[in-house]
């Protein structure tokens, strides 16, 4: 009962501290519950969508010329296969959405009963049933809307050798397998009669890999097959070679991974940040308790003198802080309900699936329980000094603080009175501010790291260095390879108009590497390959792989590998490691000589990275003027428009702003709490300052400057930490999207924005928190 009375009194007397802990805990529990729930909801929604769509374990696209009945039958007869389904499709690579060409390949299929879900026009929900489609209409997937910014009612146009087709977007349907923005091909739906007409009109062109009739093959494994999707695919291919004939294939596991990839990355970073926030709460609590023990030495002595044991006093502290945490955790969990809807929606443009809005209460409760247990340990650790409180010392006032000389002490200067006084206030009590410095450093590290991630996506050179192919000028022939003459002509036109950093003639195809289907890049000039180690593949038996692929398949430079494609099967040597973000880094590359050995010849894509992006338009115009009019020419000075990761910038920005917002709120609470303690400890000094002529405004400024010093030191440490660890951390996190060597590009705004935010917040919040200075009366110094 006595403890409860003291508990009530303590909470009432120190309601600022209590509310501060409650607020921090609200933020932490809201953040943790939201992030974990969203992570789980997105994964669960993807699983459910795959289930509803009866997605196959193995999918592949094979041009009709290559898919023989025998080949298909051999798969159907395979003992591991339950059944095989096929779907007719038209492969279309030249399509214009709102008159702008979309770079992905589309598989046009007739609308069928497999499509069971359609989005409302604003993507906020699903319609009760899929609407019938008109012969002039087309249904797209949300990933296209994300990448091309199109909406219901917009026109789109196909160009084939048979002529042009204009269709109207009548809606967006759910296609869980390839509907997400991260997958490089898309399935779109038209009315059956439109499909028949289109299919009949599509010519059999000279390069069947580029356009024409294809069959999508869906292979389902037996219910008793215990192999993973990857192992299943390898076994099927080993026994039937069907994948060797496909121009694209993927397992369900791979496609799910691609769909969920970015939300996983963002959630991982957010969880890391949430852990830091939880750590900050514990640190703040420990600091607060330590300061409280120093400040309440006399009261604690009196309690001891009255018979309170150290154990009871420590229990009092535990109850006080735990109560604040529990209240905060409950409110935070409730507040996470609307946050889950809001935050979950951020990923919808990428996953093209509406995420569930469930609260993952179980995980949330376990995590909060862990935090509470850790809190108890921290409180017990922080209150161990209570054992040393002596009632005699406390009552005789022997416990007064003594300031000691420090090497950090600098003289108070008349020329810079405010700054030097603020620095003295900091340096003479620096232990009190270590916590604030530590927290600032952590927040700065996170803000910088997320900023680096965002700014790298806006930096051409950074993306290129990490293996993204970004070219302002691109040329593609219509449904065929370049001729030798065309390649020479293009190069000379481009070089005549602008300085070129890098130019490549390129094609890509899926081949099998030691039985696994791997995305392979073929370069006319292999010296253009972005090598990390070893050397570019010069000879006809050499290839290079990424370190992600090397690690995944247990390969290294010098190893011999088997590469198969259709009827070709050849042994290659790995000559080095290169870096590439294509196909989330699971990729290999070879030169012209190697390509010919496995039956690949000719190039279908030219790209030039210009030294000055502004020259793009001039180069584009010159190419359009001089080349065959059927050549597809793209010239865009804005490299982000041609970047393959533009779809994720929205989510990165959302993450960035969330981390900023939470950092600001944390700074507000931390500054308020530390300021409040400092204010109580320095009340007498404040009175003296007033008595010698300082105004309240000047004193508030001293407070604000002191916290600015703390923010400067913390930020500097945060920047150093970021220089040391951000790249490593991001390489680890972004490995799944093919970035294994994240290159940090510290631009002025990358660093300045978080620095200004943190410094500004510290200064402003300290100035606001120090408003109590006004209430300090000089009279308080009087002893009657």
């Amino acid at each position: 009962m006595d403890i409860l009375t003291l508990l009530r009194a303590n909470i009432k007397r120190k309601k600022g501290t209590f509310l501060g802990i409650v607020l921090l805990m609200i933020l932490v529990s809201m953040f943790l519950t939201t992030v974990y729930s969203v992570k789980k909801n997105v994964a669960k929604s993807i699983d459910e969508a795959y289930e509803e769509a009866h997605a196959a374990n193995l999918m592949m696209n094979i041009t009709n010329e290559r898919l023989t009945d025998e080949l298909l039958q051999s798969v159907k007869d395979h003992p591991l296969v339950d059944h095989v389904a096929t779907s007719d499709a038209v492969l279309m690579r030249r399509h214009f959405v709102k008159d702008k060409e979309d770079n992905q390949s589309w598989l046009i299929v007739p609308l069928n009963e497999v499509v069971t879900k359609q989005f409302t026009d604003d993507f906020s929900g699903y319609l009760d049933e899929v609407r019938p489609i008109s012969p002039e209409g087309i249904y797209l997937v949300q990933g296209i809307a994300t990448n091309d910014g199109c909406k219901v009612g917009d026109d789109l146009r196909f160009e084939t050798r048979s002529g042009e087709y204009t269709l109207k977007i009548e809606g967006f349907v759910v296609e869980p397998v390839d509907g997400c923005a991260m997958v490089g091909w898309k399935t779109v739906y038209v009315a059956p009669e439109t499909f028949e007409k289109l299919a009949a009109d599509v010519d059999v062109v000279d390069n069947p890999d580029l356009a024409g009739r294809v069959t999508i093959v869906y292979i389902y494994k037996n219910a008793d097959c215990e192999l993973s999707d990857g192992e299943f695919g390898r076994t099927i291919n080993r026994d039937t070679c069907i994948q060797d004939y496909a121009y694209a294939s993927a397992t369900m596991t791979q496609m799910k991974r691609y769909t969920n990839l970015f939300s996983e990355i963002v959630c991982s970073i957010m969880i890391g940040f949430a852990m830091v926030l939880a750590g900050v709460v514990l640190i703040i609590m420990a600091h607060n308790i330590t300061v409280t023990i120093e400040m309440s030495y006399t009261e604690l002595g009196i309690l001891k003198a009255e018979g309170f044991t150290k154990g009871r006093i420590r229990v009092l502290f535990v109850l006080q802080y735990l109560l604040a945490e529990i209240v905060g955790a409950i409110i935070g969990t409730i507040l996470s309900i609307p946050m889950i809807s809001l935050f979950g929606g951020i990923f919808q443009p990428i996953t093209a699936i509406i995420a569930k809005k469930d609260v993952d209460l179980q995980t949330s409760l376990v995590l909060l329980l862990v935090i509470l247990i850790l809190s108890v340990l921290v409180i017990l650790l922080a209150t161990r000094k209570i054992a040393k409180v002596s009632p005699v010392k406390a009552l005789t006032g022997e416990s007064r603080d003594v300031y000691f000389e420090s090497f950090l002490t600098a003289p108070v200067s008349g020329k810079n009175l405010a700054m030097s006084l603020s620095y003295r206030q900091f340096s003479s009590n620096k232990r009190r501010y270590f916590v604030a410095i530590f927290i600032t450093a952590l927040l700065m590290f996170f803000m910088l790291t997320v900023n680096l991630m965002g700014s790298c996506m806006e930096s051409k050179s950074a993306l290129q260095a990490m293996g993204s192919i970004l070219c302002e000028v691109q040329v593609r022939p219509q449904d065929r390879n370049f001729t030798e003459e065309e390649m020479d002509e293009i190069e000379s036109i481009v070089k005549a108009e602008a300085d070129v950093d890098q130019s490549i003639f390129f094609r890509n195809e899926y081949v099998t590497l030691n039985g696994d289907t791997i995305y392979c890049q073929f370069y006319r000039d292999p010296e253009m390959i972005n090598m990390v180690s070893g050397r570019a593949p010069v000879y006809d038996n050499e290839l290079v792989i990424t370190d992600i692929l090397a690690e995944d398949m247990g390969l290294k430079t010098g190893d011999k590998v088997e590469v198969s494609r259709r009827e070709f099967s050849e042994e290659f040597i790995i000559s080095g490691i290169f870096c590439s973000m294509n196909d989330t880094g699971m990729t290999m590359a070879m030169g012209d000589a190697g390509a010919k050995k496995i039956g690949v010849s000719g190039y279908v894509w030219y790209g030039a990275s210009l030294r000055d992006s502004k020259d793009a338009e001039k180069v584009g115009n010159s190419l359009k003027e001089k080349l065959d009019p059927e050549m597809k020419i793209v010239a865009d000075a804005d490299f982000s428009a041609i970047s393959d990761i533009k779809s994720i910038t929205t989510a990165v920005d959302a993450m960035r702003y969330t981390i900023y917002a939470f950092s600001i709120i944390f700074v507000l609470v931390v500054v308020s709490m530390i300021c409040s303690k400092s204010f109580t400890q320095e009340r007498r000094d404040l009175g003296i300052y007033k008595a010698i002529g300082f105004t309240s405004r000047k004193l508030r400024l001293l407070f604000a400057l002191r916290f600015l010093i703390i923010a400067v030191i913390g930020s500097a440490i945060g920047i150093v930490l970021s220089r040391l660890f951000s790249s490593k951390a991001l390489s680890m996190i972004l490995r799944s999207v093919g970035i294994s060597n994240f290159i940090s590009k510290y631009q002025a705004d990358t660093v300045l924005v978080p620095v200004i935010i943190l410094l500004g917040c510290f200064f402003l919040f300290a100035y606001i928190a120090a408003r109590k200075v006004k209430k300090v009366e000089i009279r308080e110094l009087v002893i009657e």
């Binding site: 300031y403 003289p411 010698i692």
Partner: protein, 253 residues
């Protein structure tokens, strides 16, 4: 006779207490003259310190006027009062009240820097000189907790006069000092007054009262008696003591 430096008219100060009002100062009329060493005496609870704080603008009077150079302190805003403290008034507290994390030299120099009338190096030189005058140069780099009470009070005096105030207020400056330190501090204040410094001091210490050129007696928030004395001379301290004692007895002290 010298002119008035500070005048109080109809000055009242009340405090809320147990749901009612305690009237500590009741319609006080008073003039403080330039170059005088004015000492206010009175029994405990007579309102001496309250009067001092009201006159110095450290505390707001409930009503009345405190005029300094034609301006009413009671009506002044915080900024004007702060300016007054950093330019025209100096204050010595009973408990010294030095800033705990500044050295003695810095404690003295900071009001000078704040005053902004002299350059930083000039202020620092004057602070050093004052500490020398006060005999505490040896400990100028020490922080308050590292020096004795007497040294702290001498430092507080130096701090109060660094900006050459027109009027120096002192609230029981010897209240926390031993006999030896009391004498030294009073000698310093007497010297200051001899050099033209106007001083208003409240005390209940007879030894301090002996240094006055003018004595005021406060009872129940009213000035009920006044006595004028010739400038202090150590040689005549005995006769001065007898004279002051007699006056205090007449005030029923």
């Amino acid at each position: 006779m010298s002119s008035n430096i500070l005048t109080a008219h109809d000055l009242c100060k009340s405090f809320a207490h147990n749901g009612g009002q305690v009237h500590v100062l009741q319609h006080v009329d008073l003039e403080i003259r330039e170059k005088d060493f004015t000492v206010v005496m009175g029994a405990s609870g007579s309102g001496k310190s309250t009067l001092l704080y009201a006159l110095s603008g450290m505390d707001k009077a409930t009503s009345g006027q405190v005029m300094f150079e034609g301006k009413d302190l009671v009506k002044m805003k915080e900024k004007e009062l702060a300016s007054l403290r950093s330019h025209d008034f100096g204050f010595i507290f009973q408990q010294m009240h030095l800033i705990s994390n500044l050295t003695l030299l810095e404690n003295v120099a900071v009001p000078g820097y704040l005053n902004n009338e002299k350059g930083a190096s000039e202020v620092k030189a004057r602070a050093e000189k004052l500490l020398e005058q006060m005999g505490i140069t040896d400990v100028k780099t020490h922080i308050p907790s590292q020096v004795s009470g007497g040294e702290q009070q001498r430092c507080a005096i130096a701090r109060a006069i660094i900006h050459e105030p027109k009027l120096l207020f002192a609230d029981e400056p010897t209240g926390a000092l031993n006999r030896k330190n009391t004498r030294e501090v009073l000698d310093l204040m007497t010297d200051l007054n001899r050099n033209g410094q106007s001083i208003l001091m409240v005390t209940h210490d007879l030894r301090a009262a002996l240094r006055a050129s003018r004595l005021l007696y406060l009872e129940d928030g009213n000035v009920i008696g006044e006595m004028t004395l010739p400038p202090y001379d150590k040689e005549e301290e005995k006769s001065r003591e007898t004279q002051v004692n007699a006056w205090l007895s007449s005030m029923k002290w």
